[in-house]
């Protein structure tokens, strides 16, 4: 009986080894037709194990079948011419198979054509997609740049605002500043007197003498009769002593409101009762090297 299996066998014999799947594909010819053409894989990829699925494979196998069938037919005709032994059924069978296979082949060709068109469209679309992709990437880059620039701008604006706030916070009237500048320069506290020479006892800080004659120094020296006892004979220094340390601001006046006073959270430097006033006293005591005036009752 001339069946497809028979012809596949012949084909395998004639053409050598074929992948097993294509044999199975050949026997399941009906199944093949129903398989979706697109799922038949790449038009160009007839590779290896995927075998009979691709349209190309199917086309090729159809072609081979046709070839085999036509060869059989011709051989049979040739034999029947010599031999007069007519197996009419077989001829018809072969013919029918041939026609059938040809029909399949034609359909496969149409399928292939469609697939080609689709593939072409796919290609066009892919190109389109690529173009769009690159557009999107370009846009993304630009957006990122924009974001960076904006972030920088925002940051700088914030910094500016911060510094504005800071400046506003520290705003002082120019008059006050001028007054203060005048005060500290007039007394040579920040700028040396023009006639200063080495040997001049004046200094940019309160000197020993001045410290002792200030409030701190006087706190433990109630017995000293004024400052004249300690003078080195420099009239200049003497003349400057009385107001040299204490602020020239009339602090006996009521101008100094309560909120000018030093912050009062300071009583616990050691987390223990003794306040800092005691420390001032200690300093002053120890500072005066004149033994007659020191009265150290605490240590």
């Amino acid at each position: 009986m001339y069946t497809m299996e028979y012809y596949s066998a012949i084909r395998n014999d004639k053409y050598g080894f074929r992948p097993a799947s294509s044999m199975a594909a050949a026997s399941g010819a009906e199944k093949e037709k129903e398989r979706p053409g697109v799922g038949g894989g790449g038009w160009g990829s007839g590779a290896g194990a995927a075998g009979g699925n691709s349209t190309r494979e199917r086309l090729l196998s159809a072609l081979e079948d046709l070839e085999v069938l036509s060869r059989e037919l011709i051989e049979m005709l040739a034999i029947s011419r010599n031999q007069k032994l007519l197996p009419p059924d077989e001829e018809n069978q072969v013919l029918e198979l041939l026609i059938h296979r040809d029909g399949e082949f034609q359909e496969l060709m149409k399928l292939a054509l469609n697939q080609g068109k689709i593939h072409h469209e796919m290609h066009v679309l892919e190109k389109e997609v690529e173009k769009r992709d690159s557009d999107i990437q370009q846009l993304q880059k630009q957006l990122k740049e924009a974001e960076q620039i904006l972030a920088t701008a925002v940051y700088q604006a914030k910094e500016k605002l911060k510094s504005i706030e800071k400046a506003r916070k520290g705003a002082i009237s120019s008059e006050e500043i001028i007054k203060y500048a005048h005060r500290i320069s007039a007394s040579n506290a920040v700028c040396a007197p023009l006639t200063w020479v080495p040997g001049d006892p004046r200094r940019p800080y309160p000197t020993d003498l001045e410290m002792r004659s200030g409030l701190l120094g006087q706190m433990n020296n109630p017995s000293t009769n004024g400052v004249n006892g300690h003078l080195p004979g420099d009239a200049l220094a003497a003349g400057r002593l009385p107001d040299v340390l204490a602020s020239q601001y009339p602090w006996q006046s009521n101008d100094m409101s309560m909120n000018m006073l030093p912050p009062n959270h300071s009583n616990d430097f050691l987390l223990e009762p003794p306040g800092h006033n005691k420390e001032n006293e200690d300093d002053v005591e120890v500072m005066s090297t004149d033994s007659s005036s020191s009265s150290s009752d605490s240590d």
């Binding site: 520290g170 002082i172 006050e176 203060y180 005060r183 500290i184 007394s187 506290a189 920040v190 700028c191 040396a192 007197p193 023009l194 200063w196 200094r203 940019p204 800080y205 309160p206 000197t207 020993d208 410290m211 200030g214 409030l215 701190l216 706190m219 040299v244 340390l245 204490a246 602020s247 020239q248 601001y249 602090w251 100094m256 309560m258 000018m260 006073l261 030093p262 912050p263 009062n264 959270h265 300071s266 430097f269 050691l270 003794p274 800092h276 006033n277 420390e279 001032n280 300093d283 120890v286 500072m287």
Partner: protein
């Protein structure tokens, strides 16, 4: 009545404290005094260090305007650092600071002298050129 009296004494106490702290913080501008304190170990006392930290309030403008020797603020800031306090035990350190302070103190007078000299020279040149 008692409350008013109490307020008054409190006020007086605060005023005294203000003046004392004002004097003390300005004394810190004197490097010799700082050396004195360092050598007697005051800087090792934690309470004293805390006191120095407390004194930082003099940096606020409303308090700073009472300072006659504003250099004391810089010294106060430096005193917050342990390393500086340790260094002050050396007399050379205090001497160096003293010298630098005095030199800086003379900065403006030097500048003025230079300007005056330059002006004098220029006048001389003009005079010579005029003749």
């Amino acid at each position: 009545m008692a409350a008013a009296v109490a307020m008054e004494t409190d006020d007086a106490g605060n005023r005294l404290r203000f003046q004392l702290e004002l004097e003390f913080v300005q004394c810190l501008a004197n490097p010799n005094y700082l050396n004195f304190l360092a050598q007697r170990g005051y800087f090792k006392d934690k309470a004293f260090v805390n006191y120095l930290k407390y004194l930082l309030y003099w940096k606020e403008p409303e308090y700073a305007k009472y300072l006659k020797y504003p250099q004391c603020l810089h010294m106060l800031e430096l005193l917050q650092y342990e390393h500086f306090r340790k260094e002050l035990v050396n007399a050379q350190c205090a001497k160096f600071i003293d010298e630098q302070q005095i030199l800086h103190w003379q900065h403006y007078s030097r500048k003025r002298m230079r300007l005056q000299q330059a002006l004098a020279e220029q006048q001389q040149q003009n005079h010579a050129a005029g003749k």
